[in-house]
Amino acid sequence: MTVPLLPGPLPLVEHFERGLAAPICLTWELTYACNLSCVHCLSSSGRRDPRELTTAEAAALIDEFERMQVFYVNIGGGEPTVRPDFWDLVDYAVDRRVGVKFSTNGIKITPEVARRLAGSDYVDVQISLDGATQPVNDAVRGPGSYRTAMRAMRALADAGFVGFKLSVVVTRQNASQLDDFAALAAEYGAQLRLTRLRPAGRGASVWHELRPTREQQRAVYDWLISHGENVLTGDSFFHLGGYGQGLPGLNMCGAGRVVCLIDPVGDVYACPFAIHDSFLAGNVRSDGGFARVWRESELFATLRGPQSGGACTSCSAYDACRGGCMAAKFFTGLPLDGPDPECVLGHGEALLERAAASQVAPPRPSPDHSHRTGPVPVTIGKRPSRACDESPLAGFTAR
């Protein structure tokens, strides 16, 4: 994003806080189905929801984006490319000048697909990878996921797709690999994107083990400052502004103001990290569709109104961090008008300890489409008595 051009009566951020005619950054999760089961999945994806938007409904939503002049949508999931109509929907959007950037684990990015994607200005691809080495990545994203991502990046690079995104959630386990990620991105002609681990979805249950330590957090900030605009962050580290110089970007919470999320069943949430009834603004299937939810929802009106900094108002860093991330506070059980749980001045840590001691469970993310991975009772068959037995009846004796 470029700088504001001329001095006006209000800083640009304050205009944005009052909301826009349409979102700048719209995330559309196309399906809850996913071939992976990443431990930190923001949307608790795994299984498809039978109520997901049909192809016709998805196309009608794209028509609405076109009318609202939504420049581009960030399509995610789940794994969006497992929807059989995914490529048709991408073409449909591009034909209407609605750009598409989609997030994928790479499972469907074959050389042929990569060549098609490389040919369009309107399509951008973001490959998710959470470790610069296979063990670090696969521990979070599952066995085989590193190899899948590498194969997809190779296909994109070979097809001449320059500048696709390599997207990394920064964790305690990979925070020391930032230079390695940058080298990987350079090797494949990609642009590196680093984002913050949020305690949302399944991420809520692993947040305490995966989140960077305070020392790592400081190192991430310094690293981002020294790499400037070459590394994308989706504005996700604005809570670190309190360290000093602000990071590139808007440095504000965009929830309901410039950002929103449409989930696979058409529910509209204030942001991709806040999939919970408390942040549900409406559904695109209701009268007036998405435009009406965006423009008239009571929740969004509240988010666009004056916000109280609460306990943070008197802090010298408040102008820089603006109290941090609403979703991070919500899912860790902290008050929304207080410090971020990862406040750089440490004000969040004390509150986290108090919240843990209070025995009051933080809000559970809703809904959950995780794969059912519990024990499956086996009712037929027996382990073969010898390893080389191939017959399913081996070792079975009828009584």
């Binding site: 470029t2 051009l5 001329l6 009052r18 000048r97």
Partner: protein
């Protein structure tokens, strides 16, 4: 084609740029380089939209009511837009 902005050259909006009016001015998005720009001033929006109809950028500014004193600020604004490829120089025939 140079991206060095010259007030006295012919300019136009880049073909890959979409303009969305907003209460504070407008948002510009270039599909080619995927960059977003903000116009915080309705007059800049008028200038940008009318560039193609004028022989020079200066003429577009004057026609939008930009005073001589204000011209340097608009020149800077248009230079920023040229650097991010939101506007481009037209060739003499265009």
């Amino acid at each position: 084609m140079s991206t060095n902005f010259q007030l006295d050259s012919p300019w136009c909006l880049d073909e890959r740029v979409a303009v969305r009016p907003e209460p504070f001015g407008a948002l510009l998005y270039n599909y080619g380089n995927r960059r977003l720009s903000f116009l915080k001033d309705p007059t800049v929006l008028t200038v940008v939209r009318s560039l193609a109809d004028h022989p020079t950028a200066r003429s577009a500014c004057e026609s939008a009511g930009v005073s001589t004193q204000a011209m340097p600020a608009y020149e800077r604004a248009l230079s920023t837009l040229a650097r991010s490829a939101m506007i481009r120089e037209r060739d003499g025939r265009g």
